[in-house]
C-alpha cells in the first residue's frame, strides 16, 4: 500500500524530534531510513504506526489518515518489528509468531490462525525451531522470528527498527534478502538502517534524516559523496563496481 507522511512533527517533553517531515512511498517499495544517531529514524517509524501520536501533520495509508483506523484495523495493515525486546516470560517460537495474529483474535486463536502461523514458519524455514524456547535462540534466529511474527499480522506495510544491528554479516544478508523478497511480493517495507552500504545495495528508496528533518529523499542516486559526508559529518570515498555503490569511511570531517 501507498504510505504518505505529511508535515509530521513530534516532540518528546517539549523537545522537537521531528520537524515538518514529508515523504511518500509506493506499494512494494523497500525504503531505507538513514541518518545519524538521534536523527529521528526510530521516532518516525513509531509515528508511522501510531505508537507515538504526532503533534502535527498526518500519516496516510492509501490516502486515509491512520488516526481514522481502529487500533486493530491499523495492526492488520501495518506491522512493527522493534529493535529489541526485553522479554522475560518463556514462550516457544510458535507462540511468539502466533502473537502476531492478535489483531484477529478475540478469546482464543482459531484453526485458521494456527494454520497461517505454521505456514509462515514454513515459508521462512523456521519449522525446526517451532517448539523451541524463543529466549534460547541466537540473535539471527530471533530476528527471523520477529519478522515471522510481523508477517502473521498479514500486513501491507512492514516497519523495522534496525533489524540487522546485532547480526553477523551472513544473517544481515539473510534478513535483507528476505525483506527484499517481501517487497517484491507487494509489501511496502520501511527499515531504519545504520549500514549505508546495505542501504545502497538493497533499498529501492532512501530517506535521509538529520536533526529531525528530511535531509534528502529519492532513489539510490541520492547516495553521493557529498550527501553522505554532510549527513554524517565524515569523509568518505565512493567506489562504483559492477553497478553497485560502496561507501568507504575515510575519517572525520573538520568542523568550521
Amino acid at each position: 500500500m501507498k504510505i504518505t507522511i505529511q508535515d509530521v512533527e513530534f516532540s518528546y517533553n517539549g523537545f522537537p524530534v521531528l520537524k515538518n517531515v514529508n515523504n511518500k512511498f509506493e506499494k512494494g517499495d523497500l525504503v531505507a531510513l538513514v541518518g545519524p544517531n538521534g536523527s529521528g529514524k526510530s521516532t518516525l517509524i513509531k509515528c508511522m504506526n501510531g505508537i507515538l501520536k504526532v503533534r502535527k501533520g498526518t500519516v496516510l495509508i492509501d490516502d486515509r489518515s491512520i488516526s481514522s483506523f481502529s487500533p486493530n484495523e491499523l495492526a492488520r495493515e501495518m506491522a512493527y518489528v522493534p529493535q529489541s525486546e526485553n522479554r522475560k516470560a518463556v514462550l516457544n517460537v510458535f507462540d511468539i509468531v502466533l502473537l502476531g495474529r492478535k489483531p484477529y483474535i478475540n478469546w482464543k486463536p482459531t484453526e485458521q490462525d494456527l494454520r497461517i502461523t505454521s505456514d509462515i514458519l514454513n515459508s521462512l524455514n523456521l519449522d525446526h525451531l517451532a517448539m523451541r524456547d524463543f529466549n534460547k535462540l541466537s540473535g539471527g534466529q530471533q530476528q527471523s522470528v520477529y519478522i515471522a511474527r510481523a508477517l502473521a499480522q498479514e500486513p501491507d506495510i512492514l516497519l523495522l527498527d534496525e533489524p540487522i544491528a546485532n547480526l553477523d554479516i551472513r544473517h544481515q544478508i539473510e534478513v535483507l534478502d528476505l525483506l527484499k523478497s517481501l517487497s517484491q511480493k507487494g509489501i511496502t517495507v520501511i527499515i531504519a538502517l545504520h549500514d549505508i552500504n546495505m542501504a545502497a545495495r538493497y533499498a529501492s528508496k532512501i530517506m535521509m534524516l538529520r536533526d529531525g528533518k528530511v535531509f534528502a529523499g529519492g532513489g539510490r542516486e541520492i547516495i553521493t559523496k557529498e550527501n553522505i559526508e554532510n549527513l554524517y559529518d565524515i569523509k568518505v570515498k565512493i567506489i562504483e563496481n559492477n553497478g553497485h555503490t560502496f561507501i568507504i569511511p575515510d575519517g572525520l570531517q573538520k568542523h568550521h
Partner: protein, 356 residues
C-alpha cells in the same frame, strides 16, 4: 512440512489440557481429604449418608456448617489471591509483584485497625478464653475493604498523572505500604491491650472466619474478575513483548494495565477484608505454574486460579490438623511453607532465565 508443525503445536496444546485434568483431580483429592480432616471423625460411610441426606445430625452440621463453608472459603480465597498475582505479575512484567505489591495488605490492615480502634469494633469485650474478640466483624471487613480501595485509587491517580509504567506503579505500591504501616503503628501505640490483640489477631490470615455468606460475596467479585482476566489474556500476552510492541498490535496498553490492576485489586481486597493477610499464595503459586506450563497467559490464568485454590485449601487443611486440637491461622502456615519454597525456586532458577 507445515502440517507437521501444526500438529506438533496442537499436541503441545493438548498436553496442557491434560495438565488441567490433573489439576482438577488433585483438587478433588484435596477436597475429600479436607472433608475427612478435623477433630470429629467422619467415616466414608457417614459422608455418603450425609450427602444422600441421612446420617447423624451432628455430623451433618459439621459437614454443612463447618467443613464445607471452610473448604469453599479457602478455595475461593486461594483462587482470588493466586489469579490476581498471576495477572499483576504479567501486566507489570515483574516476577516480584504480587497482589500485595500495590499496598493492598497494608491498606486493609490499616482499615481493620481503624475500625477496631477509631470505630470501636473491637474494644467492647474480650472473650472468657483470653482471646481477643472482634465484636463487629462486618464493620471491620467493610473498613478494611474501603481502605484497600483507597490504595488502589492512589495508584490509579498517580499513574494517570505520571503514566502507568510498571516501575511507577510498583514504587507507588511500596510507598503506600510503608505509609499505611506507619499508620498502623501509630494506632497500635495509642490502643489498649484488647484492641492491640484484636488488630494482631485480625492480621493473621485465618479461614476460621469462612461462611457461606462471605463466600457468596467473594464469588460475586471473583467470578466476573476471572471471566474478565480470561478475556484479556491475549492483551496480557502482548504486554510481555513491551509496551511499544503491544501498541503496534492494537492494544490499548494503559487501559489494559489499569483495568487489570483494578480487577485484581478488588479480588484481593475482598479476600483480605474477610480473612486477613494470607501471604505468599499470590506470589509463589503463579511462579510454580509458570515453571510448569510456561508464560502463556491463556493457560497461566486458569491454571493459577485452580492451583491457588487447591494450595490454600491444602494449607488450611494442614493448619487445622498439624498440631490438632490447636487450629493454626493459615496465613502463618503459608508463610512458613511459602518462604522456603520461594527461596528454593530462586536457587534452582539461578543461572537460568529468572522468570522461567
Amino acid at each position: 512440512m507445515s502440517a507437521q508443525v501444526l500438529s506438533q503445536y496442537q499436541d503441545y496444546r493438548k498436553k496442557r489440557l491434560y495438565f488441567f485434568l490433573i489439576l482438577f483431580l488433585l483438587l478433588f483429592v484435596v477436597i475429600v481429604l479436607s472433608l475427612f480432616s478435623g477433630s470429629a471423625d467422619i467415616s466414608l460411610r457417614d459422608l455418603y449418608k450425609i450427602i444422600s441426606g441421612e446420617g447423624p445430625a451432628v455430623s451433618r452440621q459439621i459437614i454443612y456448617k463447618i467443613r464445607l463453608p471452610r473448604i469453599t472459603g479457602a478455595f475461593l480465597a486461594g483462587t482470588a489471591l493466586s489469579v490476581s498475582g498471576a495477572v499483576i505479575q504479567s501486566i507489570l512484567r515483574n516476577p516480584l509483584a504480587s497482589p500485595f505489591t500495590l499496598g493492598i495488605s497494608g491498606a486493609s490492615a490499616f482499615g481493620a485497625a481503624f475500625a477496631i480502634i477509631v470505630l470501636g469494633a473491637g474494644s467492647s469485650y474480650s472473650g472468657s478464653n483470653d482471646m481477643a474478640v472482634i465484636s463487629n466483624p462486618y464493620l471491620v471487613t467493610v473498613s478494611a475493604f474501603l481502605w484497600s480501595l483507597s490504595s488502589v485509587a492512589i495508584i490509579l491517580l498517580l499513574s494517570k498523572y505520571r503514566g502507568a509504567t510498571p516501575e511507577i506503579i510498583i514504587l507507588s505500591g511500596i510507598i503506600i505500604s510503608s505509609l499505611f504501616g506507619a499508620g498502623i503503628s501509630a494506632m497500635q501505640y495509642f490502643s489498649d491491650n484488647v484492641q492491640l490483640a484484636s488488630i494482631v489477631f485480625w492480621t493473621f490470615g485465618d479461614m476460621g472466619r469462612a461462611s457461606w455468606e462471605n463466600s457468596l460475596i467473594i464469588a460475586v467479585i471473583l467470578v466476573p474478575a476471572l471471566i474478565f482476566f480470561m478475556s484479556q489474556s491475549w492483551n496480557y500476552k502482548s504486554l510481555q513483548s513491551g509496551d511499544e510492541y503491544a501498541k503496534s498490535l492494537g492494544v490499548n496498553v494503559s487501559g489494559v494495565r489499569l483495568t487489570g490492576l483494578v480487577a485484581a485489586s478488588l479480588a484481593t481486597a475482598v479476600v483480605v477484608s474477610f480473612y486477613g493477610i494470607i501471604a505468599f499464595v499470590g506470589l509463589v503459586v503463579p511462579h510454580i505454574v509458570r515453571r510448569i506450563i510456561g508464560g502463556d497467559e491463556q493457560f497461566l490464568i486458569p491454571a493459577s486460579a485452580i492451583c491457588g485454590g487447591t494450595f490454600l485449601l491444602l494449607s488450611d487443611t494442614l493448619a487445622r490438623t498439624i498440631i490438632s486440637p490447636v487450629i493454626l491461622p493459615v496465613g502463618i502456615l503459608t508463610s512458613f511453607v511459602g518462604a522456603p519454597l520461594f527461596l528454593f525456586l530462586l536457587i534452582r532458577g539461578m543461572g537460568k532465565d529468572y522468570w522461567t
